[in-house]
Structure formats: C-alpha cells, structure tokens
Subunit: 162 residues, 2 copies
DNA sequence: TTCTCTGCAAACGCTTTGCATTTCA
DNA sequence: TGAAATGCAAAGCGTTTGCAGAGAA
C-alpha cells in the first residue's frame, strides 16, 4: 500500500497488556477496580476485533453483570482512552481495547455477508487529509474510514462481479 | 489532491433535475406520484447537503405528512437509486438526492462544533482499495469515509492546535 | 378496480438515566 | 466514611411495522 499513515503501531491487535497493567491504569485515575470492570477488560483483551456491548455482555458468562453496567464501563474506558469506538454503519457501537501508546487509529474491512472483520493496515493518506484541512480552513481534522465487501467465503453466493 | 477517484461527477451538488424528471423516474418503475412524495423530492432538491428524515419532515411545512411516510419514502428512493444514504456517525441517517448517472459516491468534511458540512472532492485512492480487496480475497469492496474537524468559525472556541 | 401509499399507533433495538443500594479505597 | 459503581427499571431516540382507510393508475 502506497501511503500508510504512521498512527498505527499495532496492526495485529494482539493485546499483550496484562490485566494488572490495565487495572493499574484505572487505579491511577482513581477509578475503582470492580469485578464487572475486570471481567469486561478480560473479554476485551481476548477479542482482537471490535465487539459490541451486547457481545461483551454475553461473553462475560459467569462474571455476568447488568447490560447497563457494560455500557457505562465502555464509556468510562473510552473517556480514559483505554478503548476505541468503531462504527460499522449498522447502528451498533463496537469497541477495541487499545495498547499502551496506540491511539487506535486504524480501519477494517468488513464482510457484508458474514460480518467477518479484517484489520486494515492502510489508511487515508495523511497528506490528503492535511490538504483538505488547509483548503477549507478546518483544524483538528480526522476521518472515519471503513471498507465493506464480500469475503472469499461469501463471494460465491452472489452473482459474479469484480 | 493526488488521486481523486472517478466516481464523482457532481462535486457541487447543485441538483438541476427538474421535479418532472424525478417523478418520471417514479412513474417508469410503477411507483405512484403522491403529494407527500413530490414534497419530499422538492425538499431534497432544495438541499445540497445530506439531511435527516426529521429535517425533511420539518422542511415539508404546509405539505406536511407523517414522519413514517418520510422514512418509507426514503427507503423507496434509496432502493431506486435516486437517493444516497450517508452516515456521519451520530446515529442518524442522512440523505442526498442523486443526479442522473451519479452513484453519489463522495465524502464530507463535517464540523464537530456546528455541524457545518463541506463536500469533499477527494476520495480514497481506488488503487489502494483494489490492492486491499486483492490482498484479502474480497470482492465488491467499497468504503465509507467521512472527515471531521473544526470549521474556521468554531476553531477559536477550542484551545490552539494544528 | 387494483395496487400502492398513507396515517396512526404501537413496537423495536440500542442506548441512556434516575434512584436506591452496594462496593471499593 | 465518602466517592464511585452497580442493578433494576424506566425512559429516550431513531426507526420500523401492522393495519385499516385513502388515493393514484
């Protein structure tokens, strides 16, 4: 890919951060380390693609807590910069745990058939974004970019197309 | 901008299509030309940026119809390819009327302060998208891309930043 | 007359919120 | 003890849907 941006240090989303490191971050901002919160972090740590509140809630299993608590915690974690919100355009928020020092800026290729997700290394070229900002006098410009298509498994089901 | 895509024949969104041409398109697909439908098309024709169902409903004024009718009509128009849906990530669908022959693929720069919208000429380089599709074996790959930032009017309100 | 569309009202799914209670520090 | 977090239930919001009646072809 010709012009990947530099904001993307963790292309494989393998969260190496131990749970203790995560809870430490909570402690440092005087947030309490509760059972639901730890369980939610564990679920996020195990998943390498964005997951919804409901999926998190289901994945909690024994460590079950109220769905509202999941929502509240994801807001908290987002505010603290520990988690990043993604929008696949289906009206449901999805979240990924962030590695230390990663701002989480990256994109996905989502199968419109089976919802399989591939993490994308490329990014909208930064120069284009800067040019755009300059041209219209905007500051603090970012972008949201997601790709959609049919994965190899789902492709045969649909009529031929490039 | 280095690599604009070719799918964007109408950068200024000045809808020149007369209402009769639009209703003709409806007629050709055996959809009825009703008062609410005409009024909705008129509203869309007058607006050069994506607007929400509720905004359309409000803009109807005297030609008022049920909000559900607005929703239903925008689905119909979308299915017919006369309108394109956009998602600014705030959980509300927005629509733009399409010119004949335009598939509506373009992007926006949205002010996070006042919601001002600028239509963007640039696009994610097609070659990158194709490379991405090839690499992961996906077909029919498209993307959703929107830019967000602070417009000149809203910039002073926030602390200095590039 | 037939098929589509509309209004109305109810329901839906995701998300947020108020409040009393519990839990962590 | 005090601040923060939780469970529960209700509400909020955008959107969809069922149904009976109205309207276009």
């Amino acid at each position: 890919m010709s012009s990947p941006c530099s904001r993307h240090p963790h292309p494989h989303r393998l969260i190496q951060q131990p749970l203790t490191e995560l809870t430490e971050k909570l402690r440092s901002k005087s947030r309490k380390i509760t059972a639901p919160r730890q369980a939610i972090l564990e679920v996020l740590r195990r998943h390498q693609h964005p997951i919804t509140n409901k999926e998190i809630h289901t994945a909690l299993g024994t460590a079950d807590c109220d769905l509202a608590t999941v929502y509240r915690n994801l807001h908290t974690l987002e505010d603290m910069g520990m988690v990043r919100r993604f929008d696949f355009g289906d009206g449901v928020a999805r979240f990924e745990l962030l590695e230390e020092g990663d701002d989480g800026h990256h994109h996905h290729l989502v199968c419109t058939g089976c919802s399989a997700v591939v993490e994308v290394e490329g990014c909208f070229p930064t120069e284009l974004e800067l040019a755009l900002a300059r041209r219209h006098g905007f500051t603090r410009v970012t972008h949201k970019l997601e790709f959609f298509g049919l994965c190899p498994k789902c492709a045969p089901a649909a009529p031929a197309s490039p």
